[in-house]
Structure formats: structure tokens, C-alpha cells
């Protein structure tokens, strides 16, 4: 066991061990009832196993990089709520049996993922299982005003606004458990600050989380009337939502292609060395993450870093090697101003242009003259200098020498806090990457 999960960080290990504990507990306490359960509700269990397994196969990556499996999550939550289903016997089984069904469904999905060679992202499934378990416990084992929510449903025979409200509240708790656990692991994997990651995940799209939260209750409230048909039908609106999200994310990728193309204009003109802009962008993004910038600000840093040398296009003669760090300060300012002017022509990239404009400003002007240079521009200044000085080489000696040169300008030319973040980034990135891919 230790060997298998030893390569995970502490949070990932914790989530997986906690999930495994739920699996073992459910198995030990529920297995004796499995025969009876399968006998009384074969169709209901088959339907949910199918939905859960299929849901694990369809994972969606959100703009922040978070990976969700909306159908699996909504199905697991709906399963935990299920009491009465038209055409089926009441689902009057124990909490641990409900968790066991979720375990088997999610396990089936993971087995298929392994068979077709897709990344498992075990922590994602475990976070989902734990969230669903919380929903099951709150629905079936905890009594509100003398009765559990499950018992309410059976007594009333159909939904009421109050039952719906209780379901929404419980689903929100369960889904946030999944979100927070997944976010902690993601922060750990990307060496990002956990509060930034959680703020990204919770803040990026409240509307998406609302869609997810409402879907489980919708299935459970329609089931007494529509039977098992409620499971596919009530999930359709949410599925449409996530289809839209996929389109949006794919479109975001083409936007990134567009910006990268702009960055190659200077390379094609012989002004900058190949891939300089991409390297500066990658380094700037790492530094920005290290400093705990929010995802939307990280993206602006990335775009500005890609475009930071665009102004060189206005130069009569290319600077040797395109290394602006060696150019006269006045030329550096001119390149920055020209670049900003060109980027402003888009009309939608003014925030990027503003960063490009002040990228060459020395740090002492911030310190002594109180000039407003955003941290994003200061990041690009440091990342650009580092790449100009190493010439893009990943050789440790070259990196060492470049850092020494940058340290000479510390506090005068460069912001010490950002140089510190750069040092930190270089230290962690020089190790061979052990990061397993997210699901």
C-alpha cells in the first residue's frame, strides 16, 4: 500500500486513504446485505452503476484547470438522496450500502479508464466518493426535527419546497467537500498556494457549481414521478451546461494560439531568438503561481509575457540576439511603449498592454519615486532578464551565472521578492517532473 501511494504528496495521500477507509467501512458493513439489495432493486442499482461509471469516463477540464466529472458527481448525490422511485421498491437501505453502490459504480468507471489507458486521477474519484458519502450520511443517518430527510420523503410521498431546499443545502455541502479536497490536492501537485487554488475553484464559476448542486436534487425529486427515466432526463440541462463549458475551454485554447502567434512575429523578423517569448511566458507563469496570483491574473501575465518583445518590430535594426536586457535603458522603454501601442490596437487587450508598457521600469523607481509598476510587470522583467542571460539554456551553470547577474541588480533593477520567487521556482523545476497528470 505505502509503495503504491508513496509518490503522492501528503494531501493526496490523505484524500486517498480517507476514501479507502470509506470503501472498507462500506464493504465490511454492507456486504452482508448485498444479496437482498440486488434482489429487491436490480434495475435501480444497474441504472446508477451505469451512470456513475459513464460519469467517471466523461471528465471536463474547467478554465482554472480543475477537472470535474459532473455526471458522476450528480449521479452519486442523486443516489444518496433516492427514497421513492416510480415503478421500483423504496430504496430503504443503509447508508453504507448506498456508499457501496457508489464505490462499485466509480470503481467500474476507473477500471474502464485503466483499460483504455486514460489517466486515473484517483484522488478525484476519492474526493467525489467522500462528498457523496457526506450527502448519504446527512440524508439518511442525521435526523432533522426528529426525522431524517430520507424519512421525510417517504412520509410525504412526493416533494415539497422544504424537501427541495434541504436537498439543495445538503448537496451543496457534499459538492463543496469534493471541491475542497480536490483543490487541496491540486494546489499540492502544482506547488501553488492552497488558498489561491480554492479561491479560483470556488470563485471562477459559481453558476457552474449551482448547476451541479441542483442536478442531484432534480433527479431525486423527479424520480417519484418519472421513475428511473429521471436519471437521464434531469441530467440533460446540466450536461448542456458542461458542453458549453467544453466549447469555452476549447476556444480559450485557440485564443492562446493566437497570442502565441503574435509572439512569433518578432522571431520571424529575426528580432528575438526562437521560443524566447514562450520561455519567458512559462517562467513568468511559474513565478506568478509561486507568488499566489489568481488564475485570471496569471493568464494576463502569460499573455503579456508572450507579447513583451512585440515592440521590437518597430526597430530599424534588430538588437543582437534580441536580448533587451543588454539594450540601453532608453531603447528598452521605447520597445515597451511601441509594444503596448501595437497591443492596444486589439481594443480587448488593454490590461495586457498596460503590463507590457511598464515592463522595463527599474525597481528603484518603484521604491524611490513611488511609481506604480504592477507586480505582473515586475515578474516579466525578471523572467525576461533571466532568459536573456541564459539564452534559454537549462544548464545549471548558466542558470547559476544568470542568477548571479540578476542578484547584482537586486533592489536597484529587480524586485527582490520576485527574484526570490524565481530562485524558488528554479529549485523546484530542476527536479525531474514527478507530477502525474490530472484526470
Amino acid at each position: 500500500m505505502r509503495g503504491a501511494i508513496g509518490r503522492f504528496g501528503p494531501w493526496e495521500r490523505a484524500v486517498i486513504i480517507l476514501g479507502m477507509a470509506a470503501v472498507v467501512y462500506a464493504a465490511v458493513t454492507a456486504v452482508p446485505h448485498v444479496g437482498q439489495l440486488v434482489e429487491t432493486q436490480p434495475r435501480l442499482i444497474a441504472a446508477y452503476l451505469l451512470a456513475l461509471a459513464a460519469g467517471e469516463l466523461v471528465r471536463v477540464q474547467l478554465p482554472s484547470g480543475r477537472v470535474t466529472a459532473p455526471v458522476a458527481t450528480a449521479s452519486a448525490v442523486a443516489l444518496a438522496f433516492t427514497a421513492l422511485t416510480n415503478g421500483e421498491a423504496p430504496f430503504s437501505t443503509s447508508t453504507s450500502a448506498v456508499v457501496l453502490v457508489a464505490v462499485v459504480g466509480i470503481g467500474l468507471g476507473l477500471a474502464v479508464r485503466r483499460l483504455v489507458g486514460r489517466p486515473l486521477g484517483l484522488y478525484l474519484s476519492m474526493a467525489r466518493l467522500l462528498g457523496a458519502s457526506v450527502v448519504a450520511v446527512l440524508t439518511r443517518a442525521i435526523a432533522f426535527g426528529g426525522e431524517s430527510l430520507w424519512q421525510w420523503q417517504v412520509d410525504l410521498q412526493r416533494g415539497t419546497p422544504l424537501v427541495a431546499l434541504a436537498m439543495l443545502a445538503i448537496a451543496a455541502v457534499g459538492i463543496n467537500v469534493e471541491l475542497v479536497l480536490g483543490g487541496m490536492v491540486r494546489a499540492e501537485r502544482h506547488r501553488a498556494q492552497w488558498d489561491t487554488v480554492l479561491r479560483d475553484d470556488l470563485g471562477e464559476a459559481p453558476a457552474l457549481n449551482v448547476a451541479l448542486i441542483s442536478s442531484g436534487p432534480l433527479v431525486a425529486l423527479l424520480a417519484p414521478v418519472l421513475g428511473l427515466l429521471a436519471l437521464p432526463l434531469a441530467l440533460v440541462p446540466m450536461v448542456l451546461t458542461y458542453v458549453a463549458v467544453e466549447k469555452y475551454v476549447a476556444n480559450q485554447a485557440t485564443y492562446r494560439q493566437m497570442i502565441a502567434t503574435l509572439s512569433r512575429l518578432t522571431e520571424a523578423g529575426g528580432y528575438t531568438s526562437p521560443d524566447h517569448a514562450e520561455r519567458v511566458a512559462e517562467l513568468s507563469v511559474s513565478i506568478a503561481r509561486n507568488l499566489g496570483l489568481l488564475q485570471r491574473d496569471v493568464q494576463v501575465v502569460e499573455y503579456a509575457a508572450l507579447l513583451h518583445d512585440l515592440g521590437q518590430i518597430a526597430l530599424r535594426e534588430p538588437i543582437p540576439g534580441g536580448a533587451t536586457v543588454l539594450a540601453a535603458p532608453g531603447d528598452q522603454q521605447q520597445i515597451a511603449a511601441d509594444g503596448a501601442r501595437i497591443v492596444r490596437r486589439a481594443g480587448v487587450l488593454d490590461n495586457v498592454a498596460a503590463l507590457v508598457e511598464v515592463q522595463a521600469t527599474p525597481y528603484r523607481q518603484v521604491r524611490e519615486l513611488d511609481e506604480k509598476v504592477p507586480v505582473e510587470s515586475r515578474i516579466i522583467k525578471v523572467a525576461n532578464a533571466f532568459d536573456d542571460l541564459t539564452g534559454g539554456s537549462r544548464d545549471p551553470d548558466a542558470e547559476e551565472r544568470a542568477l548571479e547577474r540578476i542578484h547584482l541588480g537586486l533592489g536597484y533593477e529587480y524586485d527582490p521578492a520576485i527574484v526570490e520567487a524565481l530562485t524558488d521556482v528554479l529549485r523546484t523545476r530542476s527536479r525531474p517532473s514527478l507530477l502525474p497528470r490530472d484526470g
Binding site: T254, Y255, L310
Partner: protein
């Protein structure tokens, strides 16, 4: 048709719609009567608010919660109730919509639901959802009839709209209807399904009016995602301006040239009857045809000598720069070959080398604009008629047709400063 008689015809059409509303309304009232006032009031409120719950899906395809309210009213209220909900949806348009359009929209959206609601009753749709026993009853007496009248509404709506558009600009009814119905399949199915879930949750599900909230929650997510998608698509298009700015920074004598060639190329493509995707690809090819010049040394650009192999490579260089950008793939061929389209065959048949056609169109537009607007390498600009005559003389016979297309396009375009 003169403008005044056009106006009169449109007014008569709108009046006709309202008369139909009156006649069918009286019939529906005598046949079925009134009722379900609370439900109708709530759904009408939802329909009125639909402008902030609705969203654009693609260009021209819109999702509106008002349609769901109308369908729900058809199942839960008498036909006149559905008409009231539709009326509120039709009137609740943007403030900028002219009054006459709103009067028409209101009439159309009162008329269509009455017809649909009468149809719902005819094909066995039930209004007593609480009394339906069993799943098959719900499907055959609520779900299926709702979906059918949903499709009927979509078609009727397109037909009535096409009628008024025909009166205002002579576009044939079938052409307009095809444009309106194309791509509306998914939203129509979506309306039908969501309305079905809403009424099931409302009545047999026991949730009553609060089911509206539960049903709208997933839609808010879709609305958010489509908004982001739309904004970013627009941003992506705007970013093409940066490429133009880069060309003009490197070659200041070309200021404004890219935009004019883009506008001319687009007009020519429209004139040849190409579809919107091809027109857009050709427009972008026109806008970015000079991009490769940013990769050339200044003296070479200044000389602009097509006999110089280095200068001649700029089309190909420009296309290479854009090779990684998936949404520009349709424009690359036009950019790569516009300087020397030569004898590359072209056709305006759909799917037959719009790219090759693009290189010819951009070549003609580019040459024309260089002659008339850009003081090209010392030679002063010449008047449009003279430029057209020169093009006819110098271009190969196959492209002479394109000069006619250009001259027709020019007749429809302001002479210069086109584009933005």
C-alpha cells in the same frame, strides 16, 4: 416597391396577426374558457424576465427561458393563458427595439401559443397532470404532445417572421425560414424537454411554483459558459487587429490597406454568393495577406520588388506564421498564394476550393487597392475606373470575371475608408 407602400403592407400584416389573435382568442375562450390565473401570472413574470435568463448560443441562435414558460403554460393553463405568457415574452424585448417591432412580436407570440395550445388539446395533451397515472400516461399525454407543439411553435414562429421580412426586403420566405430553422433543432428539443420536467416537477412532483427555481439553476451555468465563450470569441477576432498593427508598424506606407482589402474581399465573396464561413475566411485572408512582410528586412519591403525571391516569399511566410492557429486554417491558402494566384483553378461551388478562390479574390482586391489608394513605390494613385481597366487588361481571362465582381462590390461600398 416604394418605401411607403412597403410600410403600409407591413402595418397591414401586423394588423392581420392581431386580428387572428382576436378571432382565435374568442374561439379558445368559448371552447375552453379561462383559469389557472396564478400559474399564468407566475409564468408571465418568468417570460418577462427571460431577457436576463436567456443567452446567445451561436451567432443567431438564442436560448430564452420565455419559450419554456410558454410551453409550461400550454400544459398547465387554458390556451388564452398561454397566449398571455407569450404576449409578455414578445413585449419584453430590449428597450432599443422599435415600438412597431414590439407590437409585431407581441402579436406573434400571442398568436403562436394559442394555435399550439389548441393543437396540444387536439393531439391528446392533458391539462390534468395530477390525475395521470403511470409513466406512460405522462409521456403520451404530456411529454410527446409538448414536444410536438414545441416543434409546431418553432416552425410557425419562423413562418410569421419570414412573412414580415419578405415584405420589408423581398427575401423569399423559404430562404428566411431555412436560415431561422437551421441550427434551432437543439434549442427546440431543449425547450420541450425542460418544459416537460418543469410541469412534472410542478404538479405531480409536488413542488409547485418553486420548481421554476430548481429548473433554472442548471441553465444559469449554461448561460455563464456561453457568455464567456461569446466574449472570448469576440476578443479573439479583435486580436487579429494586433497583426494588422504589426504590419503597419513595419510598413507604414500600408496604413489602412489591410482593412480596405479585407472589406473589398468580403464584398466580392458575398457578391459571388458564398456562404458566411467562406466569406469570413476570405475577409481574414484579405486582412492578413501582408502579414509575412513583418518577417522581411525594411529595405526589401520598401523596394517591394516581386522579382526579388525574398520579397516574393512574404505570402508563404505569412501563412506559415499562422499555421498553428486552428481558427484561421481556412484563410491560409488565400494568404500564401494571393500575390501570384496564377492559373490555380477556382470555383464558387460550395466545397470546391474556397481557399484557391480566396487567393484570386485577395489578389484582385489587393492590386486594386495598391493602384488606387497606396502611393505604390513612387507611382501616384490612379482613379478607380482607370485601375479597373488596367486590371482587366493585365489579369488572365479567368480572373476578368472577378474584376466585374469587384466593380459591382465597389458600387455597393463607400469608395475608401471601408472596414472600420
Amino acid at each position: 416597391m416604394p418605401r411607403r407602400s412597403r410600410d403600409a403592407a407591413i402595418n397591414a400584416y401586423i394588423l392581420g396577426v392581431w386580428v387572428a389573435v382576436g378571432v382565435l382568442g374568442v374561439i379558445a375562450w368559448r371552447l375552453v374558457g379561462l383559469g389557472a390565473f396564478g400559474t399564468v401570472a407566475l409564468l408571465a413574470a418568468l417570460a418577462t424576465a427571460s431577457s436576463w435568463v436567456g443567452f446567445h448560443i451561436e451567432r443567431g441562435v438564442q436560448f430564452s427561458a420565455g419559450h419554456i414558460a410558454v410551453l409550461a403554460a400550454i400544459a398547465m393553463a387554458p390556451p388564452l393563458g398561454a397566449a398571455v405568457v407569450g404576449l409578455f415574452m414578445g413585449l419584453a424585448a430590449d428597450r432599443r427595439v422599435p415600438v412597431r417591432n414590439r407590437v409585431f412580436n407581441g402579436g406573434m407570440w400571442a398568436l403562436v401559443p394559442i394555435i399550439a395550445a389548441l393543437g396540444y388539446g387536439l393531439i391528446g395533451g392533458s391539462h390534468h397532470l395530477d390525475e395521470i397515472d403511470g409513466l406512460s400516461g405522462l409521456i403520451f399525454h404530456v411529454g410527446a404532445p409538448l414536444l410536438l407543439v414545441d416543434i409546431l411553435q418553432t416552425v410557425l414562429n419562423a413562418y410569421l417572421l419570414a412573412g414580415v421580412i419578405r415584405l420589408s426586403n423581398d427575401t423569399p420566405v423559404l430562404t428566411v425560414m431555412r436560415g431561422l430553422l437551421l441550427g434551432s433543432g437543439v434549442t427546440t428539443m431543449g425547450y420541450g424537454l425542460i418544459a416537460f420536467l418543469l410541469v412534472v416537477l410542478w404538479q405531480p412532483g409536488g413542488l409547485g411554483p418553486s420548481s421554476v427555481i430548481l429548473i433554472l439553476m442548471p441553465l444559469l451555468g449554461a448561460r455563464w459558459a456561453y457568455r464567456q465563450y461569446g466574449e472570448e470569441r469576440a476578443a479573439r477576432e479583435r486580436t487579429l487587429r494586433v497583426l494588422v498593427a504589426a504590419v503597419e508598424t513595419k510598413a507604414p506606407h500600408l496604413a489602412g490597406h489591410s482593412d480596405r482589402v479585407a472589406a473589398l474581399s468580403a464584398r466580392m465573396a458575398e457578391g459571388l454568393g458564398l456562404g458566411p464561413v467562406d466569406v469570413r475566411d476570405i475577409e481574414v485572408a484579405g486582412m492578413l495577406h501582408d502579414l509575412g512582410q513583418v518577417a522581411l528586412p525594411r529595405p526589401v519591403i520598401r523596394a517591394g520588388d516581386l522579382n526579388d525571391p525574398l520579397f516574393r516569399s512574404y505570402g508563404r511566410r505569412g501563412a506559415n506564421l499562422l499555421r498553428g492557429v486552428s481558427f484561421l486554417a481556412g484563410s491560409l491558402d488565400g494568404i500564401a498564394h494571393h500575390a501570384e494566384p496564377g492559373a490555380r483553378p477556382w470555383s464558387t461551388e460550395p466545397g470546391h476550393g474556397a481557399g484557391q478562390l480566396a487567393s484570386h479574390i485577395v489578389h484582385v482586391a489587393d492590386t486594386y487597392d495598391l493602384l488606387t489608394e497606396v502611393a505604390d513605390h513612387g507611382a501616384p494613385p490612379i482613379p478607380p475606373q482607370e485601375a479597373l481597366a488596367r486590371l482587366r487588361l493585365e489579369l488572365p481571362a479567368a480572373d476578368a470575371e472577378l474584376v466585374d465582381v469587384l466593380s459591382r462590390a465597389l458600387a455597393r461600398t463607400p469608395p475608401s475608408g471601408a472596414g472600420e
